[in-house]
Structure formats: C-alpha cells, structure tokens
Symmetry: C2
Subunit: 83 residues, 2 copies
Amino acid sequence: MGELIGSLAAVLTTCAFFPQVLKCVKTKSAEDLSAAWLLMMGFGIFLWVVYGLWIASFPILLSNIVIFVCLIVLMYYKFGMAR
Amino acid sequence: MGELIGSLAAVLTTCAFFPQVLKCVKTKSAEDLSAAWLLMMGFGIFLWVVYGLWIASFPILLSNIVIFVCLIVLMYYKFGMAR
C-alpha cells in the first residue's frame, strides 16, 4: 500500500509537467514562470538524476529524466529563444 | 556522497518554489501556470506527504509539506481568488 501511494505520487508529480509544457508551447509564453524556479528546479532535478544513477533506482532515474526534459522546454520559452 | 547529492537535490527542488511564489505574489499573476500542472502537482505532492508519513521519513515529509504550502499559494493566484 505504501509503495502504491509513493508510485502514484511519483507518476502524478512527473506527468504534471506535461500540461505545463503544452501550455507554454501553445501560448509561446512563460512570463509568469519564475526564472529562479526554473534554474533551481533544473539543477535540483539534474541532481535527482545523478542520485538515481548513484543508488541505481530506475523509478527515480526515469521520473527525473522526464521532468528534466520538460524543464528544458520550459527554459527554452522562458529565456526567449522561441521569440 | 550519494546521500549528500540526494539531500542537495531535495533542498533545491523544494526551495525552488519560494521564488515562484514570490513572483506570483508580486505580479499577482499566474496566467502562464497550467491549471492541470497545479492540480496534478497538488494531488501528487499530497500523496508524497502521505507516503512520507507511511514510511516515517522526516525529509520526505518536510520537503513535501513545504512544496504543498507553496502550491496552495500558487493555486490562490491561479484560480482568481486574489482578484
């Protein structure tokens, strides 16, 4: 039961980034996203990927690689390369 | 070393939400935040809190309670109660 709750939590907090990416792609706007949030999340999630490799945890690795890719797309919109 | 990387990752992905909350409070705008992202994150992080209680992990509990409170503030701005 505990593992089920944890897995559902991980799936939700990972997949949550999909609609955010879609929204930014559609509106071509990331004005209200904080640059500091994006950079801290980017570095933090990168460290989660390293941690996932370190402890050889496939779920941590997969979930954080997916979030990292989403953050890269959001950064693309935030830092103006799309304009 | 692995635990240090994981702890730094947790601190970063938690504290990342502070500048995002500050930005929304200052600009009173959360237009570019995806409603689906907020709701899925809200429910997912809530489940992380339950998981933290379940496995009695203080770091998971603390980190996710902090993020949950930040998300509540972001929802307040997103869903128009501030206007």
